[in-house]
Subunit: 130 residues, 4 copies
DNA sequence: GTGGTCTAGACCACT
DNA sequence: GTGGTCTAGACCACG
């Protein structure tokens, strides 16, 4: 799986890394149960500090996306990664979407364009929940 | 129009303010051509520093959402607020959506739930582009 | 409020710091709404690195014990600091207590001694829930 | 007696193992004088490194919970496993309890709930010291 | 060799 | 001046 970081982005490196791993899992490039690179290895590959990778892993662990086994390093957990409350997860999703749709709308992107983008994205996700 | 800020949020105040104004326009609570409060007034109403409001207005101006007339204060522009290139806008949208859909997917939110949330949001937007 | 860290303890510094703050709140030495020292200030006072204090604060923030306001630094939240599920909190408490009671038992500490210790501790807590 | 280890726990394996044995004794599943499995046997049963079991046994031996006889393997000692000083044991217990009670308190767990949990645990301990 | 912790010093965004 | 982020390099506990 390919990971590319933008060093000049406003998004912190550890968050970019977390996002790419989440995307990788959703797209099937990282399979549940699969072993992630070690902190040091990944840090070296990406040319960043190991504490930064550490922070990304700690975040993913807290989100229940990966588990850290003292013996074998980090492994991908099996979804779904339930949050405390489903209703809360949906509410947060709705809030994020509301802003994104508002922006898309004001930029002149048609609702149908938006819908087809969503469908295209869904068709690339391996963990489908119709 | 009601604006509420979360002082302990990770989202910067000026960005929260910008987001709420964008949402207000998309939902029709702020009409194109309408005058916005002065920087000083809004800062006082919200109990925040006027520099923060200034920063939000500057951001909105740069995004072509409002125009600032020295004599008449800030006014809402008429959408669509075209970005430099439509393709870029769509690509950015797609990237944001990809992450959000990946997260929703891994949290166990079904695609149909996602779609219905989108439709509900669209039905509350006044500037519709079917 | 007095904070003392043991540099040679097995408990990480950031966790010791977190524990002392939690204790301080429960004992009423830190009141809800009260402002905590800045990260740098506390780090200097304790003679430790500011990242360590940062980590303690981040942990407390995640546990909903404090909130971090970009303008005024960290403040103590109002208890109770609900966890996701009350039943889970009780189960975790029970597991911790089981081990402690087992150890006390095997060390020859009588149940009544244990009970009176508990009562003495409770009498020093300001946030009482009889 | 059943021993289950969490490989992804933050508690070291050897400490989990030690805790479970202590619990087993307090609950009467392991009787004083009873023979423990050999290091090698237990390691194989649990699927972990024998060094880990060794470390747990060494810890228990140091705590005077078990004795290790080269001919007969490890055996459970008869409680109480006196520490150097009773006052020290009580002081340590008090410190642990103080933090746990503070946390329970701030989580909104009532003192009576706490007390009844303690009583329930005590009723499951075979080595009672009223 | 693994992750976890800590340090000293730096830069940045926000207010 | 605040917290947040990142680096380079170090030590430790665990297995």
């Amino acid at each position: 799986m390919l990971i590319s970081l933008q060093l000049d982005s406003e998004v912190p490196l550890y968050e970019q890394l977390r996002n790419q791993i989440v995307l990788g899992i959703a797209k099937g490039q990282l399979k549940p149960g699969e072993k992630l690179p070690t902190v040091r290895q990944l840090a070296e590959d990406l040319g960043i500090n190991s504490m930064t990778v550490n922070k990304a892993y700690a975040l993913l662990k807290q989100e229940n996306v990966i588990r850290i086994d003292r013996r074998h390093g980090a492994k991908v957990n099996f979804p779904p990664y339930k949050t405390a409350d489903d209703a809360i997860a949906v509410a947060e999703l709705e809030q994020k979407l509301e802003l994104i749709i508002a922006e898309a709308n004001l930029e002149g992107i048609a609702a149908d364009t938006f819908r087809s983008i969503c469908e295209r994205i869904y068709s690339n996700m391996t963990v489908k929940r119709v």
